[in-house]
Structure formats: structure tokens, C-alpha cells
């Protein structure tokens, strides 16, 4: 065998987990419980993943506050919220298993707010028929991640490789056998070898300018899976959370939890009107996110926006101590960053990019992707949320499908398989690709390309889309793709903690994700959930029967439609059943 072109370390395990948010850690715990050797790779320090920013809660039909709740209502709400584009089987599994996963987390040390009877308290949220979100104040994501983290570090046979970024999956004979990564700290390269790989790398919010997402959300997982030949689905389905901070400019995009509306907050326009009356008189502020985001957008377009182009969100009619107890981090956030006391005055909010319903296509039972040995769970995977995710369904998604995909990866690795060793040629190509930006002395600044990409998505793939804008956007993305091929670091060429180098690789992932958004958005000639077309304002029943998917063919992204498995009649009945609104809250 030829000597590799650059020195690198090798780490061999049974399972490689890429990402250490909720899904990755839950999957790693599943693999460790099965007695396998696990390597976890995460882009940041452990416990800093984007999961930490989730605020409102974790949806699970525990029926603690509303006795009539059951998996059926949760399933129905999830499917209706996703405008039936969801994979119905995933929605069923999720609704049935979420309670178990929440209670398990409690037994691993997670602390939740309680009802007066001493059970886990559940709060109301948009699109959920009953109060259903297990929570602790408004920092549930932190609780979830810390509980998993403290459980994980005591698990046997788990090695966590922090601040390490995967740039390529290694695939031979149609089967994944590892990944190439770089360490941020010293720029060293590592080849991770494993029998199966769990991808749990999160979302892509950083392709937009105004986003609630953290630095890490650059769509790496989708991009590396796509580059390796995996099918990526529903790329047009990107969620705008209705309430991000708007002002001051320095902090715009930062999330204002839906919990504010769950706890009784009102939305008003510049004329003081509770405008949701005109968009969803029944559910009002607790309508689904796609509806509320479009409503705020519309109010602004029609000249009734707040001074900085948003709406007013007001909880000040509630007692101050109630607000401080239920929404402590919102109080702190506005107090520190915007000089606003939310117990006394309204917040100014506008839609902010929040979540990718899109992602790698997976099997509902075990998270298997279209590449053998590669499993995916969490935001990087696609199917559960359809055309619009309900608040609270993400944290439960992470646990339910993190475990299932972890178990799937275990089953695959335990099936008497030997690890493939691949070829050095493949590793060499991956290394060459990863180091390339460092060698381009006159290469373009990656941050410039990133800013232009964000501008392109913000302008041409906004809440309301139309054909000519999408075509223009797609053209710009193609142009940016060409420029990415020649990108440099925007600074020095050292390998030790060089963010310019990291940005060059991140922006390459982001342009692939962006191309998917435009391609699928052009194909979906209807309005459904988060995807709204000015030129096709109605929902088209026929298009509800397909998912749009992208795949790599040679060096081009090809878009295609795939027929969905029809929803069985007995499940349609569950979706369309009437669920009683007549219950007494047991807070």
C-alpha cells in the first residue's frame, strides 16, 4: 500500500458517533449499554452542542397536566402540524416512546418542574392539543444535555473526541467504514474507523443571516452524507421560528422561547391589535410555528409592523414572580441584551431561522440511511416533522430516535461483520480535500462567501417564495459553489486552531445545503407548512404524496420525487379523530 500523503492518527471503535447533542449522546449511551466500543466526535466542547439552546421543553404524552392526553393525540398533533408530509411511522414511534425516554432521563438525574401532585409538570405549546411539554423553567435543553453528558462520561468504553470536525465519510463498496476529521486544537488529522457510523450532527441554520442557531449549525452532516452518496430529503422544509429578537441589531435572531406564548403571552401589531385573531382565531398565539411566522411576516408587509420590522410579544400582564419562575432566562436575556424588563414591557420579535425539518433520509425503525452502515438521528435526519415541526418535538425526537438509531448501529455492527479497511487512496483524497484551503494563499475569504450565501438565502428563500426568486437564488448558489472550490482561509495557513480554515470547510457544507433548499423549493409547487409559494398559494393533495429528495450524480445535485408510503386508514382515523378540549388542568 502507498504511504498516505500526510501523517494522521487512527482511532478504531465499533461505532463512531458524529455529534454530541441530544441524539448523539443518547445513541452513544445505547451503543455503550450494548457493550460496544464507542468513539464520539463533536465539533465543540462536550455539553455545548446546539441542543443546549432548546428552551421550552420536551413533548411527551405523559398526561400529567391533562388526563385525556395519549400517544394518539400526540401523533395526531404531530401529523397535522407537519401537514401530513411526515413519515407516519416515525410519528407513531415518537409519540409512543417519548414518555418512556423522558422518565428514563429523570432516572439519570434530570430535574423537571413539578405539578402540585409531584409529577413532571407539562406546559402548553403551539399545535399541541394538551399541555404536553416536560420542562424546567425555560432551559430544558441545558437540562437534557447535562443529564446525558454526566451519564455518558461514566459509561464504559466511550471515548469523546472534543473539538474535532468530520470533513468526509469514508465509504467503500457502498458501505461506510469511517470518517476523516481534524482536531481544532492542533489541526491534526484523524481517521476514525468503525463498523457502523451514527450521524447526529444537527442542522443548517447558519445558511441564513438571521438565525437562532449556534456557530456549529452549518449542515455538515447532511453535506458529508450527500457527498458520500446518501439521499437527502425535504430540503425545502426549513422552519422559521416566529419569535426571534429583533433589536438591538447586534442580538437579532436570538430565540425568544415559544414558552412565552405557552405561558400566556400575547402577540400584537403596531396598532395594538392581537392580530392572530385574523389568522387562527381558535388557537391564536398557540397556533403552529409556520402559521404564526407567516402572520407576523404579513403584518409587517402590510405596514403594521413594530419599529424594527416585527411584532410585539407581551407577557407583562402576568405577575412578575410568575414570569421570573417560568421564564427566567428570557427575563435575563432581555434585561442584559436589550435593556427591556419583560415583566413590565413588551418584547419586539420577528421570525428567525430555527430548524431543518429536512435531512438525511432514514428508515423509521432504526435510522438506517441509504448508505450501508450509516445511521442518522436528530435534526440531521428527516421524516418525523414533515412540513413543520411542533415545538417540543425536537428534544423528544433526539432521545427517541437517538436511542433507536444507536440500537440500529449496534445491530449492524454486531452482525458478525468485520470492519472494512478501505483504501489509502480514499483517505488521501479526503485529506487532500481537507487541507486544500490552507494551501491557497490567494484564495478568497471564506467569511465573504458565507455572508453572500446568507444574503442569498435570506433574500431568495424567505418565508414567502416564488419561482423567479428561487431561480435567481439557485444561480447565485451555483456561482458561490464555484468560488468555494478556490476558497482560502482569510488569514494564516497554520493548522493550530485556525478558524479561517474551519470556515472554509463549513462554507463548503453550507453551499451544498443551500443548493438543496432551492432545488426542492422550486419543485414543490404548492404551499404546505413552512414552505409557502406566492405563485402556488394552495395546498396540492397530490404533492402531499411525495417527498422531494436530492442525490449526488457525478458532481451534480439531482432532485427527484419519491412516493410516500400511504398513511394506513386506521392511522388516518386517529389523525382526524376529535379530541376533547374538556379537561381540568392539573398543574
Amino acid at each position: 500500500m502507498a504511504t498516505p500523503i500526510v501523517n494522521h492518527d487512527e482511532v478504531t471503535s465499533d461505532i463512531l458517533v458524529i455529534g454530541a447533542g441530544g441524539a448523539g449522546m443518547r445513541g452513544a449511551i445505547a451503543a455503550s449499554d450494548a457493550g460496544l466500543k464507542v468513539a464520539v466526535v463533536c465539533k465543540s466542547l462536550l455539553g455545548k452542542a446546539h441542543t443546549v439552546m432548546a428552551e421550552g421543553g420536551m413533548a411527551a404524552a405523559l398526561a400529567n397536566v391533562a388526563k385525556p392526553d395519549s400517544w394518539k393525540t400526540h401523533f395526531s398533533d404531530t401529523m397535522k402540524g407537519g401537514k401530513l408530509l411526515n413519515n407516519w411511522r416515525m410519528a407513531e414511534i415518537h409519540a409512543k416512546e417519548a414518555p418512556e425516554r423522558v422518565l428514563e432521563l429523570e432516572r439519570w438525574g434530570a430535574v423537571f418542574d413539578r405539578t402540585t401532585k409531584g409529577l413532571i409538570h407539562q406546559r402548553s405549546f403551539g399545535g399541541h392539543t394538551y399541555p404536553r411539554l416536560a420542562h424546567i423553567g425555560d432551559r430544558t435543553g441545558l437540562e437534557l444535555i447535562r443529564s446525558l453528558q454526566d451519564h455518558l462520561v461514566h459509561q464504559p468504553n466511550v471515548d469523546v473526541h472534543m473539538e474535532t470536525t468530520v470533513t468526509r465519510l469514508l465509504v467503500s463498496e457502498g458501505r461506510v467504514w469511517g470518517a476523516l476529521a481534524y482536531r481544532r486544537q492542533d489541526g491534526g488529522l484523524v481517521v476514525f474507523k468503525a463498523k457502523s457510523v451514527l450521524l447526529a450532527s444537527g442542522g443548517l441554520g447558519k445558511i441564513y443571516r438571521v438565525t437562532s442557531n449556534s456557530w456549529e449549525s452549518t449542515g455538515d452532516g447532511t453535506a458529508i452524507a450527500y457527498q458520500a452518496g446518501a439521499t437527502v430529503q425535504d430540503c425545502e422544509m426549513v422552519q422559521f421560528h416566529p419569535t426571534g429578537m429583533v433589536w438591538p441589531a447586534g442580538v437579532r435572531g436570538i430565540l425568544v422561547t415559544e414558552g412565552v406564548r405557552g405561558e400566556g403571552g400575547f402577540l400584537r401589531n403596531a396598532e395594538g391589535e392581537r392580530f392572530m385573531e385574523r389568522y387562527d382565531p381558535e388557537r391564536m398565539e398557540l397556533s403552529t410555528r409556520d402559521v404564526v411566522a407567516r402572520a407576523i411576516n404579513q403584518e409587517v408587509l402590510e405596514g403594521r409592523g413594530s419599529p424594527h420590522g416585527g411584532a410585539f410579544l407581551d407577557i407583562s400582564h402576568k405577575p412578575a414572580d410568575y414570569i421570573l419562575r417560568r421564564l427566567p432566562s428570557m427575563y435575563e436575556q432581555f434585561h442584559t441584551l436589550a435593556d427591556i424588563d419583560i415583566t413590565k414591557e413588551p418584547m419586539e420579535v420577528a421570525p428567525t431561522i430555527h430548524y431543518a425539518m429536512s435531512g438525511v433520509r432514514v428508515e423509521p425503525e432504526n435510522g438506517a440511511t441509504t448508505i450501508e452502515g450509516l445511521f442518522a438521528a436528530g435534526e440531521v435526519a428527516c421524516g418525523l416533522h414533515g412540513a413543520n415541526r411542533l415545538g417540543g418535538n425536537s428534544l423528544s425526537d433526539l432521545l427517541v430516535f437517538g436511542k433507536r438509531a444507536g440500537d440500529g448501529a449496534v445491530a449492524y455492527a454486531s452482525d458478525g461483520r468485520k470492519a472494512l479497511s478501505g483504501s489509502d487512496g480514499e483517505v488521501d483524497r479526503a485529506i487532500e480535500h481537507t487541507l486544500a484551503p490552507l494551501g491557497r494563499e490567494d484564495g478568497e475569504n471564506p467569511y465573504t462567501i458565507h455572508a453572500e450565501l446568507q444574503d442569498t438565502l435570506t433574500r431568495f428563500a424567505p418565508i414567502i417564495r416564488e419561482e423567479s426568486g428561487l431561480r435567481t437564488g439557485l444561480g447565485k448558489v451555483k456561482e458561490l459553489q464555484e468560488r468555494v472550490r478556490k476558497v482560502g482561509t482569510g488569514g494564516g495557513s497554520g493548522r493550530a486552531f485556525n478558524p479561517g480554515w474551519h470556515a472554509a470547510l463549513d462554507v463548503e457544507s453550507m453551499v451544498d445545503n443551500a443548493e438543496g433548499v432551492f432545488l426542492c423549493a422550486l419543485e414543490r409547487r404548492e404551499s404546505r407548512g413552512a414552505h409557502t409559494r406566492l405563485d402556488y398559494p394552495e395546498l396540492d393533495e397530490e404533492l402531499g404524496k411525495v417527498n422531494f429528495v436530492v442525490r449526488r450524480e457525478e458532481d451534480d445535485m439531482k432532485v427527484d420525487s419519491v412516493a410516500k408510503e400511504p398513511i394506513p386508514p386506521e392511522y388516518l382515523e386517529i389523525i382526524n379523530a376529535e379530541y376533547t378540549k374538556d379537561f381540568v388542568r392539573e398543574d
Binding site: 429523570e106 409531584g118 449556534s214 441589531a249 447586534g250 420590522g309 433574500r459 435567481t472 478558524p499
Partner: protein
């Protein structure tokens, strides 16, 4: 190239459009690595409401792509962007430029941890410490209980305060046992006193971490200067509500004369 009228119109939402700058600020950032470094000055355009992290990232994006800084959420939720701003340990994402009107702003890496590069330090010691703390340990009876646990709100209140910790390690940075005396060998630091407290005060936990506290965790190294409490961005009363009660529990076990006598009699 001809474009349609629609695409010439700016479809960018009002709240997402670029914002004019309102002036500039002089930002002095420590640049270097483990071999040494120096302060380097940058003039950064300012937008209303901008935080120190925004200014540092502006430099990275426009002047020097390899300026190393650790950050994630920019929303004070993850605790990644800890640094010393004009000498005070803070989160860069939660520190507004407007708080420093008319003066230059200096940003240095945390002092207590070894520098990797520029503003990034090696905080891996903290992760090693965490592994040495016995995990949440409910009783076997509670673990096997098929019913959901019944816990009252007031029973979790005390634990909740410590669970707000975002692991920014600013308390570790400012703790003089670690910072000035370099005694990482003798004291786990305030962050992990809060962690132990969150476990010890959990109503379902049964493990006894007092031997650990008296021994390698070194709770008695703290002499209650409360610097950790002062820098905590989550306003956790680390000294009053975690360290002092843990000191008391440990003292009760090891220094209570009645218990001492009991141990003598039982030959322990």
C-alpha cells in the same frame, strides 16, 4: 444580464437587512500561543446593541481569519466564549460594547488555563475533574419503581439553582486557589462544588460524596472570598448555597465531636 422586476426588488425582510454602523471602537485582543503573545489593536465598526463577541468575530471575518476564539450560541446559553474583558472574567456574548463608553476594550484569554491560541484556552482539566465525581445514584428501590417518581417542587428547588450552570468555567478562572496558587491538584474548583451540591441536594440521590469533598475535591481549600459568585453569569450563589453547605456537611461528618467519639467507639 437582464433580471425581472421581482428579483430587483429587495425581498429581504426588514428586520434582516444590513444595519448601518454608529461609530468605531478600539479593541485590543491578546494574540499569541503557549510561547507568548502580545496585545494587538483593531478598530471595529459598531452597531447598536453589539456585544464584545460580535466585535471579535468582526475582526476574524474582516481582518484576520485565523484569530482563534471559542464560541457557539452567542446567546449566553452554552458558556463557550469566556474571556477576561478589561480584566474581568465575562462571557463575550453577554458583554455589551456600550458598557465601555469612551474607553478602549481589552480582551484576554482566561488566565487559569493554558493558552492554546489567542483567546482559546485548554479547559480539558475540567472535564477530567467531572469524571471523578460519582454520578447521580438513586436507590435500587427507586430505580426499580415502575411508577413515575413523585417529587415536590420545593424538594428540587435547591438542586435547580446549581443545574443552571452552563460550564463557562469563569468561576474556575477567578478562583484564587486555582488562579493564584495553581492548586488544581488540591481543589476541584467552584464549578464542581456546584455540581456536587446539585447531586447531594437531589431528593432521590443516595451517594455520599463527603469523603470525596474532604479528600481530593478539597472543599476546605475554599476560604469564602465569593469571587466565583461575583463572576457567575447565571447568578448562582456558588459560595453561599453550594460551598458553605458542603463544608458544613463535611464538617458534621468529620469534625463533630459526638460523631468523632462514635467512630472511636466503633473502631472506624
Amino acid at each position: 444580464m437582464a433580471t425581472s422586476v421581482e428579483t430587483d426588488k429587495d425581498t429581504t425582510p426588514v428586520h434582516a437587512r444590513p444595519v448601518e454602523s454608529t461609530g468605531t471602537v478600539r479593541l485590543n485582543i491578546w494574540r499569541g500561543d503557549e510561547k507568548g503573545g502580545e496585545m494587538v489593536g483593531y478598530d471595529v465598526p459598531v452597531q447598536e446593541g453589539m456585544v464584545v463577541l460580535d466585535a471579535v468575530l468582526w475582526v476574524q471575518q474582516h481582518v484576520d481569519g485565523d484569530l482563534a476564539v471559542r464560541w457557539n450560541c452567542k446567546a449566553a446559553k452554552c458558556g463557550s466564549c469566556s474571556a477576561e474583558i478589561n480584566g474581568f472574567p465575562r462571557l463575550m456574548c453577554k458583554t455589551r460594547l456600550s458598557g465601555y463608553a469612551e474607553s478602549e476594550i481589552s480582551v484576554r484569554p482566561m488566565h487559569t488555563f493554558p493558552v492554546v491560541k489567542d483567546l482559546v484556552t485548554d479547559v480539558s482539566w475540567n472535564y477530567e475533574v467531572n469524571k471523578r465525581i460519582p454520578k447521580f445514584t438513586p436507590s435500587e428501590k427507586d430505580l426499580q419503581d415502575p411508577e413515575p417518581w413523585n417529587i415536590q417542587q420545593e424538594d428540587v428547588e435547591r438542586s435547580i439553582e446549581f443545574r443552571k450552570c452552563i460550564e463557562c468555567f469563569l468561576c474556575q478562572d477567578v478562583c484564587h486557589v486555582l488562579r493564584n496558587h495553581g492548586r488544581k491538584d488540591a481543589f476541584f474548583g467552584p464549578r464542581f462544588m456546584a455540581r456536587v451540591a446539585s447531586l447531594e441536594m437531589h431528593p432521590k440521590d443516595t451517594a455520599d460524596r463527603r469523603p470525596l469533598l474532604k479528600g481530593e475535591a478539597g472543599v476546605n481549600m475554599c476560604n469564602i472570598t465569593k469571587c466565583c459568585t461575583e463572576v457567575c453569569p447565571e447568578h448562582i450563589h456558588i459560595t453561599d448555597n453550594a460551598i458553605i453547605p458542603l463544608k458544613e456537611r463535611t464538617a458534621d461528618l468529620y469534625f463533630d465531636p459526638v460523631r468523632w467519639l462514635g467512630r472511636k467507639i466503633q473502631g472506624k
